[in-house]
């Protein structure tokens, strides 16, 4: 049989599975063949799917379930019982997850088939997936370029059609930025929407799990499945989960979309700028009301983030000390040597840099000047969004100031790398939600992403806006040449 399915969206695949036009096993086999053919060029997976396991799960799948028989790839930071979970860190090579993360358990319950572990920046620290002990992942639109990060493997897998959908995590843009650079849809839910239980913690007040998909409808479907209160995460919200797949059916007439002047700054690539402007015009044509807004503290977001996130990381990563799990050094002199040498040998440079930075800003004498002040500026950033959402229902911005950059281009200057997240970070700091969707290409055929930011629990609005735009534009139908 010569028919291929790997370019299908989850929703169209679901319809074909339900109509018995195709079986889960045929889908699994087609995807496994695609991964064999393409992953040597992209290296999206740290661990490619175990073919036998995938076939067995597919053969047993119940297609009447919401994701029955749909293969989904998982970022190597989420625990899937019995699978490795390395966070792309040498320190966790050999680790096997003893339990399912809640988001994974929900996917499992919905009938999904897990297909492999996607690459990422070590412990989700980075914007290019170059900080990985497994090597770099390549962008499906240009293999000389980075896929973005930290969830670059998930983005490249979905963008390169070697996954129908994937889960990632977003602490400062780690879903939206790589989705933008790889030409797919990436959604960062409101803080508390999705349980973080079983997600290896980077910065606990910022981390959220979210989907990478080929279409907005798929993002709505996956979000619907993974959301909801979980007694195992005391920051997960006790709120009902709306029917996101219904919310997308409304058009945007009457929807107020804000355009913040602070996101159209010098330094933004002219091709990105004109694509975003064209998207704003498209929304006006579709009947949305475009309003000018201001988020005055935007310029401080990056500085606040690089105090708060490393501070939380330095505490969270203290657990990786060679005692309970991970690769312990051989023949340690004493217990201190177990900690110090295990960490020295196990962590890569970016993780070490952030642990030192975080320890410094929390240390005696500096705590007030750095951490406390950053938490206050963070509140101002949150207040900016609260004020803005009195005037509009969602906000339109670029996701990333540039399209995908070259491998190696920013690795020697961490500060330059940090600035790649300049448009996504404030969303995490404020705790609100955001989605990146394809909105065009550069002359060199690199994807450009539009970010749609929603208020707290505003996922229905951003998905509705995203879907209306997607249906009116051709970008999501383009396939990379890979």
């Amino acid at each position: 049989m010569s028919a291929h399915f790997y370019t299908e969206s989850v929703s169209s695949l679901r319809r074909k599975l339900a109509a018995k036009e195709v079986t889960p096993l045929e889908v699994a086999n087609d995807l496994l063949a695609r991964i064999e053919a393409v992953d040597p060029k992209l290296s999206a997976y740290n661990f490619k799917p175990d073919a036998e396991k995938v076939r067995a799960a597919a053969a047993a799948a119940d297609v009447s379930k919401p994701l029955g028989g749909v293969p989904i790839a998982i970022k190597d930071v989420l625990n899937v019982e019995g699978d490795p979970c390395t966070c792309s860190s040498k320190l966790l090579h050999g680790y096997t997850a003893p339990y399912d993360a809640t988001a994974i358990a929900k996917l499992r319950e919905a009938g999904a088939v897990f297909v492999g572990r996607t690459n990422m920046d070590e412990f989700a620290m980075g914007s290019s997936t170059e900080n990985s002990s497994w090597g770099v992942t390549r962008n499906p639109w240009d293999t000389e370029r980075i896929p973005g990060g930290s969830s670059g493997g998930s983005a490249a897998a979905v963008g390169g059609h070697e996954a129908f959908a994937a889960l990632g995590s977003d602490t400062g843009g780690s879903i939206r930025q790589p989705a933008s650079l790889c030409g797919c849809v990436g959604l960062k839910p409101t803080y508390g929407r999705v349980s973080r239980y079983g997600l290896v913690a980077f910065a606990s007040s910022l981390d959220q799990i979210g989907p990478f998909t080929k279409t907005v409808e798929d993002a709505a479907l996956l979000l619907e499945v993974i959301s909801g209160h979980d007694p195992k995460d005391n920051t997960s919200a006790k709120r009902p989960v709306p029917k996101y797949t219904d919310a997308i059916k409304k058009d945007v007439r009457g929807l107020k979309l804000g355009v913040p002047k602070e996101y159209f700054i010098s330094g933004i690539d002219p091709e990105v700028q004109s694509a975003i402007k064209a998207a704003i015009d498209q929304y006006a044509k579709l009947g949305a009301e475009i309003v000018d807004i201001s988020l005055p503290n935007t310029e401080y977001a990056c500085a606040v983030y690089y105090i708060i996130a490393p501070a939380e990381a330095s505490a969270n990563l203290a657990r990786f000390d060679g005692v309970r799990y991970g690769a312990r050094v051989k023949n340690p002199k004493d217990i201190l040597d177990v900690y110090r040498s295990t960490r020295a040998q196990g962590f890569g440079p970016e993780v070490k840099r952030r642990i030192i930075l975080g320890t410094y800003v929390l240390s005696s004498g500096y705590y007030d000047a750095y951490y406390n002040r950053a938490q206050k500026v963070r509140q101002l950033i949150r207040q900016d969004f609260t004020n803005a959402f009195q005037k509009c229902d969602a906000i339109l911005t670029p996701t990333s100031p540039t399209a995908a950059f070259k491998i190696g281009e920013k690795t020697s200057d961490p500060l330059q790398m940090y600035l790649a997240d300049i448009f996504t970070i404030a969303v995490n700091l404020a705790g609100v939600c955001g989605v990146s969707i394809p909105c065009g290409f550069t002359q060199g055929k690199l994807p450009i992403g539009l970010q749609i930011i929603g208020a707290e629990w505003g996922e229905e609005n951003i998905l509705r806006a995203a879907h209306a735009y997607e249906q009116a534009t051709p970008w999501h139908k383009e396939l990379p040449a890979i």
Binding site: T96, Y191, N297, S314, A369, K376, Q379
Partner: protein, 93 residues
């Protein structure tokens, strides 16, 4: 926050992290530059501003015993163990 001075070796020691000389030198330079960048927060007037509080704060569950991982599963990744305990080098002489 005015003078971003960081003694990388001292801080790494607090974080229980050994550094090579080359790492210490590179980090010293890079972290000074990053601290110089974040020092711009000094410009912000934060008088009277409360510290951040997010969308969800401490949804605590009832304090009742529930199912948990069996001991052997919880210990399955421990580098060294004996008799359901994790073994580490001697801490106290």
């Amino acid at each position: 926050m005015a003078s971003p001075e960081i003694d990388v070796r001292y801080v790494a020691d607090l974080a229980r992290l050994d550094l090579t000389d080359a790492e210490a030198a590179t980090f010293q330079k890079q972290l000074s530059s990053i601290l110089g960048y974040v020092a711009q927060l000094e410009k912000v007037d934060v008088s009277g501003v409360p510290a951040f509080s997010g969308p969800v704060v401490n949804n605590l569950r009832e304090d009742v015993a529930g199912e948990s991982l069996p001991v052997e599963v919880a210990l399955s990744n421990a580098p060294k163990q004996d008799n359901n305990l994790i073994v580490v080098p001697k801490m106290i002489e």
